[in-house]
């Protein structure tokens, strides 16, 4: 039987220079929490040339697999940060979900029925691998000062920054941050220090989460059981991870005793009754959770920003926790980078809350609805759930009602203050939309459209132009990417992307002459029918948080 598949690395504590000095250390950007969110933010800032200090109370990555399902948008963001291919290579790709009810399959679904995207709907990979790569990538930039075993014990927030008390094995010191990113997780110390309420709902249910090493004859699919014979009255979720590692979530009900449920013999008995007698397995990690949905009312407090689980927490159904957190970092970092170097006004940063607040609400709404479906709270709720599942086996009409988790989709920043609506043709991807991928040819070689967008971290004008000759020069600070529906003559128009399949034009809803202004995070700021340079410039100024001229 395979043994343990992963050993947590231990990162060294380095004695900070400020220890024992009288003067308070001053830093531009400080990130509290070196989990998924903090590390992603540090790397994104570094890629934009902004150094940061990252404080983490621990000296390692995630204990246990935790977030395992990485959604397409997250993979695209990690693609921009230079880690996307590692997720693809190391992770398990899956597109199919299969739902069982009782002793029978109810139906299955395909999450990404269309081809022509660099990244699949989902890749499964334990969170600790992602964090380990992020740590190495952060170190590789030379711009992230990673300080392990550095616990933030107190925070005084003021209009022009925050004063932190940091405790280390060698003693405590004070650190003044001009900008503070609180990425310190669901029990955020920064949030508590600022005395900010974290409100929402606790679900009266418990879940046993087990990582199991085994080689069962299951395909790489998401499998969800409602009321299976091996775990009657409850639900079970199965996911494959790399290295013969499988994740099983058993719903336990509210009355379960978390201590007893963690006992290895008890967990093994549950797994054994699921797998039958013939499949050998070993437990790698076991944990019992009660899930919650809650959020901070505002994600910006002066120059302190809350990201990830520190800002909002969701139940895992739908894989919205980690994926949502990565989008927080994606949203904030280009803005902070622009403000820190003085290219954008501080008010640009208000849009982080304006854009990510509704995204958090959407994640909470979906994950609450999923939890309500999975854990019916009344006789009527149970009858309806089972009725839906009974119908689903034969009737496609009932399948959209089955809710075993509405899997993470990128936020559409509808109504964003940074968007310029109005000028775009109706068919075009609307302002606020995340970018969509398509296969293209670049100088005759296969390429992905998304790789070319914002590749330099700037705004991009994406112009659809069949001759490759009429695309306007973008205003200063705006890169230009031209997509042509006709093959550019050999050797001419280098860099023009040939939309050989027509998918780019179709997915972006564009005709020749159309163009879109994309923000540095790829979201659409504005769309144009034959863009005038002035209009593009005005939209870019607006997306940088400048008041209208």
């Amino acid at each position: 039987m395979p043994g343990a598949t992963y050993t947590n690395p231990r990162f060294p504590f380095r004695r900070p220079a400020a220890l024992g000095r009288a003067a308070v250390e001053e830093q531009r950007v400080v990130i509290v929490g070196g989990g998924l969110t903090g590390l992603t933010a540090a790397l994104d800032l570094a890629r934009r040339g902004v150094p940061s200090v990252l404080l983490d109370e621990d000296d390692t990555v995630s204990e246990g697999s935790r977030a395992i399902c990485w959604a397409k948008r997250t993979l695209e963001i990690y693609g921009r940060l230079g880690l996307g291919e590692r997720f693809l290579r190391r992770g398990i790709t899956w597109n199919t979900g299969r739902v069982f009810f009782g002793d029978r399959e109810a139906y299955s679904f395909d999450l990404l029925p269309e081809q022509g995207h660099e990244y699949p709907a989902f890749v499964n990979l334990p969170q600790y691998h992602a964090e380990e790569w992020l740590v190495a990538a952060c170190e590789g930039t030379g711009l992230v000062d990673l300080r392990w075993r550095s616990r933030v014990a107190a925070v005084e927030n003021s209009a022009d920054g925050a004063m932190l008390s940091v405790e280390t094995p060698d003693g405590a010191y004070r650190l003044r941050a001009e900008w503070l990113l609180a990425c310190d997780g669901a029990r955020s110390a920064v949030r508590r220090a600022l005395d900010l309420p974290f409100t929402g709902q606790v679900f009266r249910d418990r879940f046993l989460i087990a990582d199991v090493v085994m080689r069962p004859p299951f395909p790489a699919e998401r499998r969800f059981w409602f009321d299976p014979p091996f775990h009657p009255g409850q639900s079970v979720l199965l996911h494959q991870q790399p290295d013969d590692l499988w994740r099983i979530d058993f719903q336990l009900g509210w009355d379960a005793d978390p201590e007893r449920e963690r006992e290895p013999e008890r967990v093994s008995a549950r797994v054994r009754s699921m797998l039958g007698p013939d499949i050998p397995f070993a437990l790698e990690w076991v944990s019992v959770y009660t899930f919650r949905c809650r959020r901070l009312e505002r994600f910006r407090h002066g120059r302190t920003f809350f990201l990830g689980d520190a800002a909002h927490q969701v139940s895992p159904f739908g894989a919205r926790g980690g994926n949502g957190s990565v989008q927080d970092a994606d949203n904030l970092c280009w803005k902070l980078a622009a403000v820190v170097v003085g290219r954008a006004p501080e008010t640009l940063l208000d849009s982080y809350d304006a854009e990510r607040g509704p995204a958090a609400d959407e994640n909470i709404l979906h994950s609450t609805r999923s939890t309500d479906f999975i854990t019916p709270k009344s006789g009527a709720a149970l009858a309806y759930r089972d009725a839906v599942l009974e119908l689903a086996e034969q009737h496609a009409l009932a399948r959209p009602l089955v809710n075993s988790g509405r899997l993470s989709r990128p936020a559409v920043l509808a109504g964003s203050p940074l968007s310029t609506p109005g000028a775009a043709p109706a068919a075009m991807l609307p302002a606020g939309s995340p970018p969509v991928d398509a296969p293209v040819l670049r100088d005759g070689q296969p390429e992905w459209l998304l790789r070319r967008l914002n590749a330099d971290g700037r705004f991009t004008l994406l112009a659809f132009d069949d001759t490759g000759l009429h695309a306007p020069a973008g205003p200063p600070g705006v890169g230009l990417v031209v997509v042509s529906g006709r093959e550019p003559p050999a050797g001419r128009l280098p860099g023009v992307l040939f939309d050989h399949s027509g998918l780019a034009a179709r997915r972006w809803g564009c005709a020749p002459g159309d163009a879109l202004l994309l923000r540095p995070d790829g979201h659409v700021a504005a769309g144009f029918r034959t863009p005038a340079r002035d209009a593009v410039q005005a939209a870019q100024r607006r997306a940088m948080g400048h008041a209208a001229a």
Partner: protein
Amino acid sequence: MTLRTEPRLADPDGFYAALMEAHRGLDEAASRRLDARLVILLANHIGDDAILREALALARAAGRGA
């Protein structure tokens, strides 16, 4: 469109009898699921969110007591 509330069934007694027949022999829980399946089938057939919400409100208001 709004929810049609004038009597429309050609054979009300026949429909009622068919409904009772469908529930025959089912225990409480199974009956409840049958009704739920019926609601879902009909709701999908109607397919109009505004009408469904109107029907929900009407059904709820017409109930007697708790």
